[in-house]
Amino acid sequence: MVEEEGRIASNCNEVFVWPHCDLTFINSLSARKSYFLPMDRSDVMRGAKAIITEVGELVGFTGRFFREAFRSRFEWRELVRQCYLNGYRSLPLVAITAFIMGLVLTVQSRPTLARFGAETMLPAMVAISVVREIAPVITALICAGKIGSSIGAELGSMKVTEQIDAMEVSGTNPFKFLVVTRIWSTILMLPLLVILADAIAIWACFIGVNMKGAVTWQLFQQQVFDSLVFSDVLPALIKSIFFGLAIGVVGCYKGYNTEKGTEGVGRSAHSAVVVASLVIFILDLVAVQVTEIMGLN
């Protein structure tokens, strides 16, 4: 937007002089110039470089987590607190979502299966869909929104208010106390949330099946467990561990590297959700390929 100090382009074609402009305001606008002006090759290169740099820093941050994660001393109490906040407190949201997901999937799939006279395959179809893909991904996305933003905002606030610096000064390892505990909590809690989401969604499927039919619980669970195999459950659980790692790492990284005051806190929370969601989808894609290669599909 700003070509030079005091000159503002309102769009690509029009340039006019703003004689009484505030320099701070113009500087803030200059940070957003790509929103208003068409990007040239240098902008693309800069963007690509920024993304690659961020990926590198994220990998470095993850490496630092793994170095610190298995080194004593553990902050057990903080870990339990974070597990409570990130796991138990997320359960209602995950449970409601899983219930609706199972019910809607059942109700929506019924007409199509009924067209082929395969309504009896409904429990098996929903169970496989939920266990293999839907429950892990949806739970991870919900947690990315709830936990990722929470971690990003909390650590970002601590960073901009210099509480993290204060912890370093007081001899506490802030990375171990703040980051490692949070990432461990997401790694541990996400598979549990996914398991419970699986169970709730299958129960909702049972309700959905009985809304327009009559299937006993015994027959329903037989149909469900006849259709499921270990290769459906285990890859999904392993996948959810990586989803938890991604949510924790991205949230902590964004919060731990917050800059530019209170505005940066909001940006960290926001970008933590966006980046974590993106990473979840990428990990899901990788997981599908890996299970395919391993012959588990």
Partner: protein, 320 residues
């Protein structure tokens, strides 16, 4: 501190719930795959396994008794299938049982179906090889279905033609929708019904008459059934024959008489063919006519005669 304990309790309950669900789920999955039950290994050799996979079910008389453990290709036409069968089910399976590749419904997974063989077999033992049979060939079914489908297409086209013809301008459907025709048909049907009723009544009457006749009732019955009447009728017929003979004789005599009349010189011949007689007769008739005229004149003269006048006057008065 109390808050932390409360949180820890909730977290503990949450974690235990998750782990319990996981353990129960894995146990159920494992029990479906016979991981927690004692099993026996049996084998079967198939020419082809139609998409059978490791982990597919093994069924004995329709009950899941195990799973496919391994599939090994032995040669270009032989596949070895290792199956894991639960011991409690295996004790019911005999060595003469037959294994086939089957399908769980039309769209379901493939499975190995074991069926009891004929006769008595020995109990199944570990690593025993079962006999195999030809399973349901889905491709053959589909081919047959394809042929049926072709036939259905032909039948459908013919039905369509038939329907079009029925629905055409002079078709049956159009005729049925014509109210006049339908009224006529209705009338015809009514008349047919009436005729049928009459025919039924007639038949009943005829049956009654025939029955009466057979029972000797009525004139015809008496005529047919009564032996006395029969004799009388026979006599009557004999008399009729006699009368007939007499009539024949009379007619022959009359013919002879007529021939005599018509013979030249006979009365008829003379009257019809003799021209002299005709002329004479005409002359006589003319003479009679003249004589009659003269007689009339004489009579009128006589009436005026004083001697007979009184008589004719009295006669005239008597007529009045």
């Amino acid at each position: 501190m109390a808050e932390l304990r409360g949180s820890a309790f909730k977290l503990g309950a949450f974690v235990l719930a998750g782990i319990t669900v996981l353990v129960v789920g894995l146990y159920l999955l494992g029990s479906k795959r016979d991981l927690f039950s004692r099993t026996m290994d049996v084998q079967a050799r198939f020419n082809e396994v139609s998409g059978l996979r490791v982990g597919n079910n093994v069924r004995y008389v329709g009950i899941d008794v195990g799973t496919v453990e391994r599939i090994t290709i032995l040669s270009d036409t032989l596949v070895l299938v290792d199956m894991m069968i639960r011991l409690d089910a295996a004790e019911h399976i005999r060595s003469n049982a037959i294994a086939r590749i089957a399908s769980d419904g039309l769209m379901g997974n493939k499975l190995v179906s074991i069926e009891p063989g004929d006769g008595n077999g020995t109990p199944l033992t570990d690593d025993m090889e079962l006999r195999t049979g030809k399973g349901l060939d889905t491709d053959a079914m589909l081919r047959s279905l394809g042929r049926s489908n072709d036939n259905v297409v032909v039948i459908t086209e013919e039905l369509r033609d038939l329907t079009e013809r029925l629905n055409s301008e002079h078709g049956l459907i159009r005729m049925m929708s014509d109210s006049t025709l339908m009224n006529d048909v209705s009338l015809v049907v009514t008349e047919i019904r009436t005729a049928a009723t009459n025919a039924r009544l007639l038949t009943e009457r005829t049956n009654t008459i025939i029955r009466d006749v057979q029972n000797g009732q009525g004139a015809l019955g008496a005529l047919i059934g009564d032996p006395v009447t029969d004799g009388q009728v026979r006599g009557l017929i004999a008399n009729l024959r006699s009368v007939s003979d007499s009539l024949l004789f009379v007619s022959q005599r009359l013919g002879s008489f007529a021939a005599d009349l018509d013979r030249p010189g006979g009365l008829t011949h003379t009257l019809t063919k003799d021209t002299t007689l005709t002329r004479d007769v005409k002359r006589v008739v003319a003479g009679l006519d003249t004589s009659s005229t003269l007689l009339n004149e004489d009579l009128r003269a006589l009436q005026r005669n004083w001697f007979f006048r009184k008589y004719f006057k009295e006669k005239a008065k008597g007529k009045e």
